[in-house]
Amino acid sequence: EPEVTQTPSHQVTQMGQEVILRCVPISNHLYFYWYRQILGQKVEFLVSFYNNEISEKSEIFDDQFSVERPDGSNFTLKIRSTKLEDSAMYFCASSRWATGLYGYTFGSGTRLTVV
């Protein structure tokens, strides 16, 4: 069964530092997403990405956030200057179809702890 791979599984960083969360989506998928889940809260949409550009972003995804697909396999989320409230589980997801007709495939997540 193909998987979405995320690294690292856990990252601890100091407030104000930059972090890069990495994802390897499923190879024949075309649509890529980042979601996050603060402990005990809902899974929240951050950004969607297709054809090397952002399709949509939420109000959470401000200037401190950026995404990139630097090569044919990796999809990264960068937070430039982390805040305490950025502490959450970050999930990468991918799908073959625009409508998510067969669902999204999520990775196991990166737990980001900002201290």
Binding site: V4, Y33, Y35, Q41, K42, V43, E44, F45, S48, Y50, S55, E56, S58, M89, F91, A93, A98, T99, G100, L101, Y102, G103, Y104, T105, F106, G107, S108, G109, R111
Partner: protein, 112 residues
Amino acid sequence: SQKIEQNSEALNIQEGKTATLTCNYTNYSPAYLQWYRQDPGRGPVFLLLIRENEKEKRKERLKVTFDTTLKQSLFHITASQPADSATYLCALTGDNFNKFYFGSGTKLNVKP
């Protein structure tokens, strides 16, 4: 803004019984509704998708209904097993397929 409600109380049922989970929504007209399973510390796993013009969808022991008049989806697991114990999330999208809105999930405990 749209509101998606799932029962925040855990659902406890006996093995072999049918579990029924509810997803209600307001201020929204979703084109698609998905159900996911989430285990602690893991990402959501896709289970089923149902479109607004479909009343019911089945997959093995799972059944989803979608009532756009009531603004409600029901998710059923028949012949439940302890391995079905997890949190179940519903997620909705409108005509903009670029993002889904998730409910907060309902925890299901199936006791042997």
